[in-house]
């Protein structure tokens, strides 16, 4: 099955890349965008036997740096 791990910066952590993207959006002439935060989407193809605990360990020990990032795991129905 497919698993999506969304990695995002914690609230309060400055995001220079998000800020640059924000400026670029404004440069395209779009107004009304309040804020931009950049994150990562990591897709895993896993056996059905892989547990939530195992996925949490992968996410917290490697995919996200828990000092600055949060993650959210989503199992995608085939």
């Amino acid at each position: 099955m497919k698993v999506r791990v969304y990695v995002s910066l914690k609230n309060g952590v400055l995001d220079p890349q998000g800020r640059a993207i924000h400026h670029a959006i404004e440069g395209l002439g779009h107004s009304g965008v309040q804020d931009v935060r950049a994150g990562k989407l990591i897709e895993l193809e896993v056996d059905d036997t892989v547990t939530d605990a195992a996925l949490n360990e992968m996410a917290s020990k490697l995919l996200a740096n828990m000092v600055i990032e949060n993650y959210r795991i989503e199992r995608v129905a085939a």
Partner: protein, 226 residues
């Protein structure tokens, strides 16, 4: 007395490993072992382990993230726990934070751009085995070359680092947006130092200065005095 013995770890994508080895050989003398990331063991009797700058694993996932999980890092963490001196410069600093040997994280520079120039630093700790050759508050010049050098940690961690004298160097000018101008931090026991500036690139007159030499000299002098 046995001669000085150091190891420089090379990860795929390290590019300052030779400079680091040359600096250690020049200033500390003795033997510098070159260790590959897949090695599971370090040579016995090391006085210093150095993690060099570069772009290990192409900075995939996060700078230093993959290298921090490589086989040799288990041995480095174990050696650090025994009190062996560990120096991480630039990408090496990123690897040390990712491996949990130092607190905080190194994020994209606040100005987005890669910064490559000499910068002024203030020596904030002159008690550690890496910095005791400097004078308190001494202003030194060391080059930086990084994209992800913006040091961040939560306020409680930053307060603790300051309270315990674990900030080794601060930027004396705006460089990358680091919290409290932190350029280098020490571990709780003081035997692990991570820093973004490159002391190994400032060890002889041809480099434009010798301010980095003092750091390596401090490590070797501490051993002689011990």
């Amino acid at each position: 007395m046995k001669s000085f013995s150091a190891a420089v770890i090379t990860f795929p994508g390290s590019n300052c490993d030779r400079d680091m080895a040359v600096a250690i050989e020049d200033v500390c003398g003795g033997t510098v072992h070159r260790v590959w990331h897949r090695d599971a063991e370090l040579p016995a009797g090391l006085d210093l382990i150095a993690l060099p700058g570069g772009f290990s694993y192409g900075d995939y996932l996060r700078s230093g993230a993959m290298a921090a999980r490589s086989p040799i890092m288990r041995a480095v963490v174990e050696a650090a726990g025994r009190g062996v001196a560990v120096l991480g410069v630039c990408n090496g600093f990123q690897v040390l934070t990712e491996a949990g040997l130092l607190p905080g994280a190194l994020m994209r520079n606040a100005g987005i751009r890669f910064v490559c120039r000499n910068v002024a630093l203030t020596v904030a700790n002159t008690q550690s085995q890496f910095t005791r050759g400097y004078l308190p508050g001494q202003r030194i010049t060391i080059p930086v070359a990084h994209h992800d050098g913006n040091y961040q940690a939560d306020e409680a961690t930053l307060d603790r680092l300051e309270g315990e004298g674990r900030i080794a160097f601060r930027y004396a000018e705006p460089v990358n947006g680091s919290a409290r101008d932190i350029a280098g931090v020490l571990s709780e026991k003081g035997n692990v130092l991570g820093m973004m500036p490159h002391p190994e690139r400032m060890i002889e007159a041809a480099h434009g200065g010798k301010d980095g030499r003092v750091l390596f000299d401090s490590v070797v002098r501490g051993l002689v005095g011990a």
